[in-house]
Symmetry: C2
Subunit: 579 residues, 2 copies
């Protein structure tokens, strides 16, 4: 981000008469093109053929392929394969732990030229102001950042969020050029049971695009959900679930986040037959995974390695995504389409050697030239200090509901374990991997503290805590030691939110996330390094999960089966009620 | 048509809150569905699988598949295969020679539930009033008749039409619920050469849907045409041409009309890989062909018989068509989609045993219950009487430009024949199949009469004449005898337009088309019978063409290569100039 503010890069309007004439003239070769990419081969996603010849670009738009062109500027792409820019069809930028500007810097060079985000993390903390922040940022970033309007803030009634968005709160946010429609409608029980506030939002966006979220829904309940006009969905975790959703007319988004990893399960479904109706998304992916493995580029090369055809995979990554979300101006390298182009070493390795966003070459200079938007959501952690005793809880019976973690899934198991009540408390039992989990309301609303048990961390000592806690983003802490949990939770207030690892009442590692308690103000490289320290520190406590903080963050999301915890208490998601 | 006027059947608006709640309740089975189709099998066009179970319909919308449902009304479709209603992606209803109401009666029972028409035939005769007539009719017919706004009235500057439509004339017609965008942009030379009036129309619809028409265009000229924002096209006549258009991002519409028959040439291109980007259309198809062979049903069964997979063919017939034209509410039998349903005996034979349009069963009773719109364009033939001498022409040299007919194509060859000049005239020479062709301006504008030669009719005597004469719809006559040509042309004035066959100055057969000289006021069955008599009469003159009147009609269309004739004279279409 620079302090100067260049003109915004808002979505281009439809071309006027003069611009049409300019495009036609350059396409015919009557005038030299603004930019020519020379020496590459275009992978045509309609017929699957490889097209030799120049790619001519007029302003932000491709005007010629498969022919020789003169250009005002020539870029040499000899030996490279050109494909359309990738489209991440569903993600929460906040999960990258950096601002939209750093997210742009992080993933655009990997070929992601469009990202369709749902800013519901920040909206749960500071409401409409958070969505407006993303809309403003979309006017400056190099990629085309599309900002859906968050459907479920809070995700449901069983949690305390920092803000509530009703249909009437969303209406003033409609009409921004970054908009596509309503973001993932997570309260699927509210839809199928015809909750009044849910129907208001569905009616407000009726006839437009409404994105879905309905894990494990099937049969007549799925028919009901789809009948509400919801056409895209990213929560399928098995081939069978994906196939039912496809058959019922949903576009299925294959997701590979840092926690939710569905790519292997859904890859067999992605064929030349289904690819026109499937897309790719990351949902929640942190900068460590992006650095170590990649982003959509990682998904593309992995899907091909697993046996999907390059045609099917690249369609899902661009053309089919554009179709699914009504972005008719992109998804193909063809005349009249946005010049969102990735030059690859090969289709199989998917390493971007050059990226163009609407005709602008992606470079550090281009990032430096962007405008900026001041960060919002500072000082958002408003919880009172807690003490060790706040985590004590005896429950009413020794049979105890325990959240069972499935590594790499945001689905959890609803376990029942016997935990002895001693001295008015059920103590953590690290020998059985049963540790305390607590959610502490931090929006200054009611000071709720809820406690429960979780199995699967491998934690042997100490505590970890976070303000990234979907979707209400209260403080969530797990610990083998209550005093350490208190130190960790209290440290988050001083940091304005973030991640903390504590042992022996000492902070071993931490990362401040002062933008709504969700995003750092640092470059993504700094955040990546901090995450490595945090992971290492967590491992010294015995944690066996590869991604403990994001896994932790989803234990508080009561719209994903089966057992979760919010500041209201433990939630039986299958019954959709508090225990 | 009935004289009473029931409520209109305009396109349903997006569902409101109450309607959403009704759909969701019926989809869940909380309330019985309005209508259940029981016993059939749904052909799923996304995965290609066959789905057992009921189809539940709420109002005009499917709400459930693949499950058991109770219904207020049950229709037995035992043993039948259910597919989405077919979409004719480009046609001129006028070419069916009947009104939109009779067209509806003729093709909807064959499974065509959406037809995207371009009313440019009637618009060339009576202007915007003709388009408004189709828009009004669309509010009453059972099918969803979509009315594109005609881009090229006249098709170009080398003809006299009854009306001229500029961008400013189209603007007041925008916004009707039947609208999709701008109809086929036939003046492709005007686009690539950046004609000012063409650019005005392109700019008016910029960012919306613009349909194409660019026969034989390729290379940089095609890049230029596509760069203008034109995304669908139906003039490809070879696999090679279709593939280039597909690669350049155009959706290719396979056409099988009464004259232009491209199905066999393009069938090899229609595969599971390309089908998502291909559609079907009839362009110009008369009721005789519809009765003898079928409509889109004929195309479907023929494409399957030729080797395209049923999945590819049914996608092109519905799902891909819906995608190509932005009709997101249809193309699949899935919850939330319009209940446009065809019940078939089998996928291969494609015989419709039952059809539902937006949930309404198609029947003679349903047709009888439609509202009506008074016909327009009466008394539109305003030519002065002609005499035999009007067809005499000596030209300037004995080398003569001759239109060479390709049967089953609207493309023609530009032939050169030596014809002796005798007594100040070049006489027809039936021994070499060289007969006179003339176009007589009939809109009361200038009284132009142009003459030339044509080869390919097989005509040995007499004359045939017509007011169906694309796109200006002047009078076109061919004859071996000038007196017969005069009788034929003059008879058209008395009929208010139509078709006439004359021999020995006697009318052998005729059909009146009093709606703008293009459409009959009779039922389609009556028109079909008249066409049989006309064909038989033409054969007694020696005519060897299967469909002489439609073939004749396209000899006057100067935006289809290579040699044509208008009231301005012979047109070299390749050079795009009058000879």
């Amino acid at each position: 981000m620079t302090s100067a503010t260049p003109p915004t890069r808002a979505q281009a309007p439809a071309p006027d008469k003069a611009e049409l004439a300019r495009r036609i003239a350059q396409a015919r070769g009557d005038k030299p093109a603004d930019l020519v990419l020379r020496g590459g081969t275009v992978f045509d996603l309609v017929t699957g053929s490889m097209i030799e010849g120049d790619v001519a670009i007029c302003g932000d738009t491709i005007v010629g392929i498969g022919d020789a062109y003169e250009g005002q500027s020539i870029s040499d792409v000899s030996g490279l394969t050109l494909v359309p820019g990738f489209i991440d069809t569903h993600l929460h930028v906040e999960s990258s732990l950096v601002t939209p500007f750093e997210f742009d810097r992080c993933v655009t060079p990997r070929g992601v030229t469009t990202a369709i985000c749902d800013p519901h993390e920040i909206a749960n903390v500071i409401g409409a102001e958070g969505i407006a922040y993303f809309q403003a940022a979309s006017e400056h970033v190099l990629m085309d950042l599309r900002v859906q309007l968050s459907a479920c803030v809070p995700s449901c009634h069983m949690e305390t969020s920092g803000a509530t968005l009703l249909a009437e709160d969303l209406e003033p946010l409609m009409g921004h050029p970054s908009g596509i429609g309503l973001a993932e409608f997570m309260n699927y029980p509210g839809v199928v049971h015809r909750d009044d506030a849910c129907l208001d939002k569905l009616a407000l966006f009726s006839g437009g695009h409404i994105d879905g979220h309905c894990p494990l829904l099937g049969g007549r309940d799925l028919n009901a959900y789809v009948s509400a006009g919801i056409t895209t969905e990213h929560e399928a975790t098995s081939a069978e679930e994906a196939l039912e959703k496809l058959r019922k007319g949903m576009r299925v988004l294959i997701r590979e986040g840092s926690v939710s990893k569905d790519l292997h399960a859904l890859q067999p479904v992605l064929t030349d037959v289904t690819a026109p109706y499937m897309c790719l998304c990351t949902d929640d992916r942190n900068p460590l995974d992006i650095a170590e493995h990649g982003h959509l580029d990682f998904m593309i090369r992995t899907l091909i390695a697993l046996g999907s055809s390059p045609l099917a995979v690249y369609r899902a990554a661009s053309l089919s995504a554009a179709e699914a979300f009504g972005l008719k101006d992109r998804g193909l390298l063809a005349p009249g389409k946005r010049a969102d182009i990735v030059a690859l070493d090969s289709l199989e390795t998917c390493n971007a050697q050059g990226v163009w966003c609407a005709g602008t070459p992606v470079s550090e200079a281009a990032f430096a030239a962007r405008g900026s938007v001041p960060p919002v959501g500072r000082r958002s952690v408003k919880a009172n200090p807690v003490s060790a005793d706040d985590f004590r809880c005896a429950d009413t019976a020794e049979e105890t509901h325990v959240i069972g973690i499935r590594e790499g899934k945001i689905l959890t198991d609803h376990l029942r374990e016997t935990i002895a009540i001693k001295h008015g408390d059920k103590a953590p039992d690290v020998s059985r991997d049963l540790v305390r989990i607590a959610v502490i309301e931090r929006h200054g609303k009611n000071g709720n503290i809820a406690t429960g048990f979780v199995k699967g961390f491998g934690l042997q000592a100490g505590a970890i805590a976070s303000t990234v806690c979907h979707d209400h983003h209260n403080i969530v802490a797990v610990g083998a030691d209550y005093a350490d949990m208190a130190v960790a939770a209290n440290r988050l207030g001083a940091l304005e939110g973030g991640f903390v690892v504590v042992k022996g009442e000492e902070v071993l590692a931490e990362l401040a996330l002062p933008v709504a308690g969700l995003m750092s103000l640092e470059p993504f490289e700094t955040v990546r390094a901090a995450l490595e320290e945090l992971r290492a520190a967590a491992r010294t406590l015995g944690v066996t999960l590869e991604e403990p903080f994001l896994q932790l963050a989803f234990l508080a999301l009561p719209v994903i089966p089966s057992l979760k915890i919010t500041d209201h208490g433990m939630v039986d998601v299958d019954a959709f009620e508090l225990l």
